[in-house]
């Protein structure tokens, strides 16, 4: 036994020194380039060299595209390269925002965009509300003196790690017409429901599935927030004879508010961007009942033979503006809860 432990340690040490050896070798080799450069430019200017690779990738694949996106939104045609595209000014935006009756997507020039926008609104409202409520409830349950806390915490967290495609397939298998959920319904004497082929049901399940997949993340953050509330406050409340409900209203809620705000805005930002789970689970269907904004962008620019890059870009500029507002709100609200980002 002792032998096997020492030998395992030796193996670990060997592997460790092997990795360290490779690491030192590679880094020394890079040093052969970096050190002459340092002699050339001086110690202080090395900062720019360290920044260079990240800034190159950042500039080419994030910053430049962000600016280019606005130009794309003002051109039309099916060509990809900007020089082949016709400049149309704000025509795309005008088309995107023209409706005779804004409550009815059918009266809009770009009716699919408005349908997607309306679906996204419904999705965001219910998903974020449900997400915050369920995460808060779960965090409060976990914050009681629970045995096996680590186990239960990871149970709720596990789906967060699953890929959206896997999540969607798990639920597609359960929700399909001959799936286990309908078998249970029949067992209970009910009629089976074609969950994914009925607009309202499909949207309901898309919301439930995305809450199922992500609630563990928000539960963790809220739990950390709950645990940072000093217990003495509750003891003091108990001495003064406050009821449990009062201490929840007057101690827990106010002190948890900054964390709640972070959770709310993060959930909001993610919900607005939702694509993967929904795309695999329903494909936006039935019809366009669950098509969300990002899928509209994808369908318009990529999922078609005649890509309309201009419209896709105009829609994504709109989406970006929504996200920007949400982020600014978060920055304002987030001042009191910096520990969650730092």
């Amino acid at each position: 036994m002792a032998d096997s432990i020492t030998s395992r340690r030796r193996v670990n040490a060997l592997a460790g020194s092997g990795v360290r050896g490779v690491y030192a070798l590679v880094m020394n080799a890079v040093g052969l380039v970096m050190e002459p450069i340092q002699r050339l430019v001086g110690q202080r200017n090395m900062a720019y060299l360290f920044l260079l690779p990240n800034l190159l990738v950042f500039g080419i694949f994030i910053l430049f595209p962000m600016l280019l996106n606005v130009y794309f939104a003002m051109t039309s045609g099916t060509a990809l390269y900007p020089q082949d595209r016709a400049f149309v000014g704000t025509a795309n935006f005008e088309r995107l925002y023209t409706c005779t009756d804004y409550t009815n997507p059918n009266t809009c020039l770009e009716d699919r965009f408005w349908r997607a926008a309306r679906n996204t609104g419904v999705f965001v409202a219910f998903q974020v509300a449900g997400m915050v409520a369920i995460s808060l409830l779960t965090a409060m349950v976990l914050n009681r003196k629970v045995r096996f806390l680590g186990f239960f915490r990871s149970v709720f967290f596990y789906p967060v790690l699953l890929s959206p495609v896997v999540v969607a397939l798990i639920w597609k298998w359960i929700l399909q017409r001959d799936g286990v959920l309908n078998a249970i319904l029949i067992g209970l004497g009910r009629d089976p429901i074609n969950f994914l082929l009925d607009g309202t049901w499909a949207m309901t399940w898309v919301i439930i599935v995305s809450i199922w997949a992500n609630m563990g993340f928000y539960t963790l953050i809220l739990l950390a927030g709950l645990q940072s509330i000093p217990l003495e406050l509750y003891d003091a409340g108990a001495i003064d004879g406050t009821s449990a409900l009062q201490s929840f209203r007057h101690i827990t809620l106010p002190l948890l508010m900054p964390t709640m705000m972070v959770v709310l805005v993060l959930a909001l930002i993610r919900a607005v961007q939702m694509f993967d789970e929904v795309y695999v689970l329903t494909g936006g269907g039935p019809g366009s009942a669950t098509m969300l904004l990002v899928q509209y962008i994808y369908n318009t620019g990529f999922g078609t033979q005649n890509p309309r890059f201009g419209m896709a870009a105009a829609a994504s500029v709109t989406l970006g503006a929504v996200l920007l507002v949400a982020t600014l709100i978060q920055l304002r609200l987030g001042r009191g809860s910096e520990r969650h980002l730092a």
Partner: protein, 352 residues
């Protein structure tokens, strides 16, 4: 009502007795286990069912497969049935072939005597069997191994590159004073919440220009300069005392050496958190690979899975097995590093 109130409020440590609130607490947690694990467990159980077993409705809980028997004179194993004979007695017979509503059946003990049995009088003999062929055939019959390899290449490559360039940038932003430092940091931070879904078209243009459509580099590089990573590492490196760096400089170490021999080892915890995040982001990434990779030989697992489930005739027995194989690595990583991941997320607020 008061029990519900106590359940909703935080009251720790009432000693000894088990109250209604405790019962509710554990009822909630057990229900939580069922809801969170149940679907995954059902996926795993289903993935071991034969194609025939999967088509059944209502589904069986456990994977069941029909028993077969090898009879002399027949090259294929024959399926076994319990049959009610004309005289009302029951027998276990093997089916040779089925013609319309009648089945030709034989008793394995006396294979020469062929009986004609109406099909409604027979029920298949089944027992618990794991259809592991769903898994083995996933590997041999499809491009699954290609997808797996592409996913591994993307995940490992992207994580390494992310760690290196992010830590270099974080080092510069946290340990040097230079002109434009705050501006650069501000620009990086301001894109923290800009997802790739907002800039799909222009990034695709750039990728196209570089010639990276249907190339794994096109998936690896765009996400490598993640603002989240730079931010995370910079905040951590700020806590490393400058005196350590200065003493290295006095000993004649170059800036590069200070970076890799002093700063990186000290930033190991933050690097580990970023590495775990990066692995999860890349392994689970879907929308961007879906756009960049259009030819099947370059698909990652997620894109490949989506293509399989989108086929006209969905072969669920393979889709389910491949889904299990796809969630397996993440599950393993999670069970090993569970504590580390949950505390890392709680303290950084970054999503996996």
């Amino acid at each position: 009502m008061s029990a519900v109130r106590r359940f909703l409020t935080r009251r720790q440590g009432h000693q000894g007795r088990v109250g209604v609130a405790d019962v509710l607490t554990y009822a909630y947690l057990v229900a939580g286990v069922l809801v969170m694990f149940g679907p995954v467990a059902w996926l795993v159980l289903s993935s071991f069912k034969t194609q025939q077993n999967l088509l059944e409705f209502p589904p069986t809980l456990l994977p069941l497969a029909q028993d077969t028997v090898t009879v002399e004179g027949f090259p294929q194993p024959l399926p076994l049935f319990d049959v009610i004979l004309e005289d009302g007695s029951q027998a276990r017979l093997a089916q040779v072939r089925r013609i319309g509503l009648m089945a030709q059946m034989i008793d394995p003990a006396t294979p020469d005597e062929v009986l004609q049995v109406p099909i409604e009088l027979r029920t298949p003999v089944r027992s618990f069997r794991l259809a592991t062929e769903n898994y083995t055939q996933s590997f041999t019959r499809f491009n699954f191994t290609t997808y797996l390899r592409n996913s591994v290449v993307v995940t490992v490559g992207a994580t390494l590159i992310t760690l290196i360039i992010n830590s270099m940038a974080a080092f510069a932003l946290s340990k040097y004073r230079f002109r434009g430092r705050n501006l650069i940091f501000l620009i990086i931070i301001s894109t923290l919440m800009i997802p790739i879904s907002v800039i799909l078209v222009p990034v695709y243009l750039v990728i196209n220009q570089v010639g990276w459509v249907n190339n794994l580099w096109g998936v690896i590089i765009p996400g490598a300069a993640t603002p989240t990573g730079v931010f995370l590492l910079r905040q951590y490196m700020l806590t490393i005392p400058d005196e350590l760096l200065d003493s290295g400089r006095i000993d004649g170490a170059s800036e590069w050496r200070i970076y890799w021999q002093i700063v990186l080892p000290l930033a190991a915890p933050a690097l580990a958190v970023l590495a775990i995040f990066s692995v999860m982001w890349r392994w689970n990434d879907f929308l961007w690979p879906l756009i960049v990779l259009t030819r099947s030989e370059f698909f990652t697992l997620q894109v490949g899975l989506n293509a399989f489930q989108g086929e006209l005739q969905v072969q669920w027995h393979f889709v389910l097995a491949m889904t299990v194989l796809t969630l397996l690595p993440i599950t393993l990583v999670f069970s090993l590093l569970q504590r580390f991941i949950t505390s890392g997320i709680a303290s950084t607020g970054v999503k996996g």
